[in-house]
Amino acid sequence: MTYNWDFHSVWQYYDLFVWGLWISVVYTFASILFGVLIGFVACAARLSRWRVLNLMARAYQEIFRCTPLLVQLLWFYYAFPLLVGGSIDNRVAALLTLSLYVGAFYAEIFRSGIVSIDKGQREAAAAIGMSPWQSMRRIVLPQALKRMLPSFINQSVIQFKNTSLVSVISVADLAYMAAVVNGQTYRPLESYTVMALLYIAMLLPLTQAADWIEKRLRVSD
């Protein structure tokens, strides 16, 4: 059987693809931004001496790391409104879920980066009279950030792919738009291939950059 490829009819809808791609990028960046803030707070809580804060942050992390993102999206869109009464906009639910999800992973990346720095570094900083905050900012963090960077980029690449799940709650991202185009053209092979190629085009430069950065960091260590 020979398949008659017809990208032409699919490409008529290129504006839908472009719009979907834009939405995916927006959700990725917005959720990374909020995720970093959430991750920072959760990481600080994990490192604090307060047991209650510590436990709360741990609970948050485990809940979001141990349930699939799809389940979280469905829960926040369909279940959460019943719990609090009222309804939730699907775009709000999507952004909220994506941010909380990636924040849980970022918190762990931040935390393990910080605790991986030898405690002798903190002692040396303390020994010349630095306050804990000065030691964190000038000695520990610069070294920890360098160590975190590869996993941070990696998690962010995964996050871009993860945004495709918001289509199940009808957020018009790239995956959603591909389905729309398919519905119009009855050309699933072409519609979904274009979608896949667009994801690759976005992420390939990023993964290459991550490899390059990782190699450079290893040299300068």
Partner: protein
């Protein structure tokens, strides 16, 4: 140099009274009284696990004593970073009490010069140019001026430890605490570090030195403390403690390390 302690007035720079330290139910220090007089070089010797590191780390509050008080220039040190009321803060204490570690703990993301200027600039708020000049002078004293732009991982162990000493000196400390600073070094690099320390002692720096180098301890110190099971078991002039030990346990300990 051994006359330093006698020639200046007997002022304690740093002292502890009734110092006890426990980790859980394990009591490591069991009541230590110790004063470091200005210009004095005190060597701490003793078997592994006797509490030498714990004691020296209590002197700059790197470990928090379970009981007893540390005082600096006859002022009690509190448990806060900042000065509170009549107690001086841990931060103030550490600004005047330098420490050099067995494993150097240089800041790997900073150059040799930046390692040395970090304290003066960040902690003391001195202008960069002034701190640079001070640091270059200190690097000159430890023989490492030409390495000022290098990163620590390009240095030998002996060079790293000399940078660490310069970093501590850059704070212009009144006391220097050294915990087995040559133990992580290859034997052929030990000499260059000991020479720097010896010169500091001759220059009148007050020091507490934990070491297993018996002949070095005998040479530089004005007083030797033999720590055993968390107490000061013997104390005296190096001639009596190291060169001519009377106590049986001390004699067998010293003979094991004398090279």
């Amino acid at each position: 140099m051994k006359t330093n302690a006698n020639s200046t007035a007997a002022v304690p720079v740093i002292s502890v009274v009734g110092l006890r330290k426990s980790y859980g139910s394990h009591e490591v220090l069991k009541g230590i009284d110790l004063s470091l007089l200005r210009g004095e070089v005190v060597a701490l010797i003793g078997p592994s696990g006797s509490g030498k590191s714990t004691l020296i780390r209590c002197l700059n509050m790197m470990e928090t004593p379970s009981q007893g008080v540390v005082s600096f220039r006859q002022q009690d040190v509190g448990d806060r970073f900042r000065d509170t009321g009549d107690k001086i803060g841990i931060g103030t204490l550490r600004r005047h009490v330098g420490m050099v570690f067995q494993h150097f703990n240089l800041f790997p993301h900073k150059t040799v010069l930046q390692n040395v200027t970090e304290g003066p600039i960040v902690v003391c708020g001195r202008p960069r140019q002034e701190a640079d000049a001070l640091a270059m002078d200190l690097l000159n004293q430890v023989g490492l001026v030409d390495k000022h732009a290098a990163y620590p991982n390009h240095l030998s162990g002996g060079q790293k430890q000399r940078v660490a000493i310069a970093r501590a000196l850059a704070m212009e400390p009144e006391v220097l605490l050294l915990d087995e600073v040559t133990s992580a070094l290859d034997p052929e690099l030990v000499g260059e570090v000991l020479a720097v320390i010896k010169r500091l002692g001759e220059g009148g720096m007050t020091m507490a030195i934990v070491t297993h180098e018996m002949s070095f301890a005998a040479e530089v110190s004005s007083r030797v403390l033999f720590l055993d099971h968390g107490i000061i078991a013997q104390e005296g002039r190096p001639d009596d403690i190291i060169l001519n030990p009377q106590n049986e346990r001390l004699r067998s300990f010293v003979s094991r390390f004398k090279s």
